[in-house]
């Protein structure tokens, strides 16, 4: 949870919405670094889906670590800074690398020439306005995916038993993970990323099947999925059997994180649970002309159960 501060993401120079996003990213992904038992984080990753509807395959993780805000250079993409790079080692010794792009309130930072465009529609509008001579539309996820496959990465030195450069170069499986506040799979963003990867211009290293690989290797997961995993594991109940697998401090860490997700409106969809009944009014001052229109209400029920 200290990462946002260590990496200088809390400075007043960053807009408030970016700080909120970076702090949330740091809260959640730091668990890869702080927990001894990565079952919850494995469960979170397993909820991730690609455009084909397949879940991310990850099992029997022995240990892992996370490296925040690395810089990557791939062709003209030297300005890209994914939010994290996760290194995981499975029991069988196989290495797994996951580059993460996380969003909270903001959309993707796509680039068209020197301008920023939040989506393809906006980019097309800019293109219409400024002319075809501009350089191509650069999609943030596509840049980071291409960077994951062929880019040069720079990691800040932090205390870790892992060397992320080794994972970047030699991991058996590499994925790009897009984490957002969406309830549903953000098909538009992911499709645009796959198309931008496939259509990348001037890339000497581009393989014919880059677009196909991207559709299998770019995943999305919602922040809410983490809350769901914590809930499913029974970690929100005290005492719970699941808690046996975690130390007392780990339990507090997970419970606090769940509370942060709840406060940020990122818990599982479960509407109409927080409404409170309002009782009959008994006023301390009888002689009043205001507030006499208030009515008691009880909890209501649905007419049709679906």
């Amino acid at each position: 949870m200290l990462a946002a501060e260590i990496y200088g993401k809390m400075s007043g120079g960053n807009p408030a919405y970016e700080r909120m996003e970076d702090i949330l990213t740091s809260y959640v992904l730091s668990l890869f670094r702080y927990l001894n038992n990565l079952e919850i984080m494995e469960g979170f990753l397993r909820k991730a889906r690609n455009i084909e509807g397949h879940n991310l395959t990850v099992a029997n993780v022995k240990s892992g670590d996370v490296f925040f805000w690395p810089l990557l250079n791939f062709g003209g993409t030297n300005c890209r800074e994914p939010d994290a790079f996760i290194c995981l080692e499975e029991e069988n010794g196989k290495k797994l690398a996951v580059a993460v792009e996380a969003k909270y309130h903001s959309g993707l930072s796509n680039i068209l020439g020197k301008s920023e465009a939040s989506g393809k529609e906006e980019a097309e509008k800019l293109l219409e306005k400024e002319g075809e001579s501009l350089v191509e539309f650069r999609h943030q996820l596509a840049d980071e995916y291409c960077g994951l496959k062929c880019g040069k990465w720079t990691f800040r030195k932090v205390y870790s038993k892992y060397d992320p450069q080794i994972f970047q170069a030699k991991a058996e499986r590499k994925y790009l993970l897009y984490i957002t506040s969406h309830h549903e799979f953000p098909k538009g963003d992911i499709m645009e990323a796959i198309e931008a990867t496939r259509d990348r211009k001037g890339c000497e290293r581009a393989l014919g099947n880059c677009g196909v690989n991207a559709s299998n290797e770019i995943y999305w997961v919602g922040w809410r999925d983490l809350y769901a995993v914590i809930e499913e594991k029974g970690m929100l109940q005290v005492p719970s059997k699941a808690c046996m697998d975690y130390t007392a401090s780990e339990q507090c860490l997970i419970a606090d994180l769940a509370e942060v997700l709840r406060i940020r409106g990122l818990k599982t969809f479960d509407p109409f649970r927080d409404l409170k009944p309002v009782q009959l009014v008994s006023n301390i001052i009888d002689d009043h002309f205001l507030f006499d229109g208030l009515k008691p209400v009880g909890l209501y029920e649905s007419i049709i159960q679906i």
Binding site: H182, H183, E184, F185, P186, K187, G188, G265, F269, D270, P271, F272, D274, L275, K276, V278, Q279, L280, V281, S282, N283, I284, F291, L294, Y300, E301, S302, I303, I304, Q305, I306
Partner: protein
């Protein structure tokens, strides 16, 4: 409970209810976008007509919420929904009572007109939201023909515009799968011309008194 607690609980209930409604709208919106639909207007607004004037205190609170969508391929059709929380005028409440409708509910409507919809136009969005708001129940003098069949309301207006509407209990929308089943899928089917699909799929929609038929 004294007035202080009543006010505190009421305000907290309103905030909680608004948050839940926001989430329901977000789920609908994301699913519609995934199906290739685009919303009317260029932002995430879903309320209109509320007042900030101290002389119009009755209109401070937003009690209805709407979004409408269309695709580029069929530009004379739109689909939309309106969530109605209540607190309507006595005349409006009487219209709803005649249909046995109880708050809070949603209407889901297919709109069709002779001209193309201008999706990005702010004024057009407001007109479309107004249309969705009253579709199936408000029945003003512009409605020339009205039929209720299988709990679906068909209305035709002067000039040939028409809408088809059904109603859903808001409090039944407690799962994403339910939203998918009773709102998203039928909205897409309606847009694609599957008017009979709604009736033949026995959706758990709200029953309407057919006595209002004319």
């Amino acid at each position: 409970m004294d007035n202080r607690e009543v006010i505190e609980t009421t305000v907290n209930n309103m905030k909680s209810l608004y948050k839940d409604i926001g989430e329901i709208i977000q789920i609908i919106e994301e699913n519609m976008e995934n199906q290739g639909f685009k919303p009317f207007g260029m932002d995430a607004a879903c309320t209109w007509e509320s007042s900030s004037s101290f002389k119009e205190a009755n209109s401070w609170l937003s009690t209805y919420f709407s979004r409408a969508y269309c695709r580029d391929d069929i530009s004379r059709r739109a689909v939309g929904f309106c969530i109605h929380l209540g607190g309507y005028s006595p005349a409006e409440q009487r219209k709803l009572e005649r249909l046995s409708m109880k708050f809070p509910f949603l209407n889901i409507s297919l709109l069709e007109q002779k001209e193309d919809f201008k999706r990005k136009d702010a004024r057009e969005r407001r007109e479309v939201w107004d249309w969705v708001w009253g579709a199936g129940w408000y029945k003003d003098e512009t409605v020339k023909k009205r039929k209720i069949r299988n709990n679906l309301v068909f209305e035709e207006y002067e000039g040939g515009a028409r809408n088809l509407t059904y109603f859903v209990d808001l409090l039944a929308l407690t799962k994403k799968e339910t939203i998918q089943r009773v709102i998203i899928e039928p909205m897409v089917k309606l847009y694609e011309g599957g008017e009979n699909w709604i009736a033949s799929n026995k959706l758990p929609i709200l029953p309407i008194k057919a006595s209002d038929e004319d």
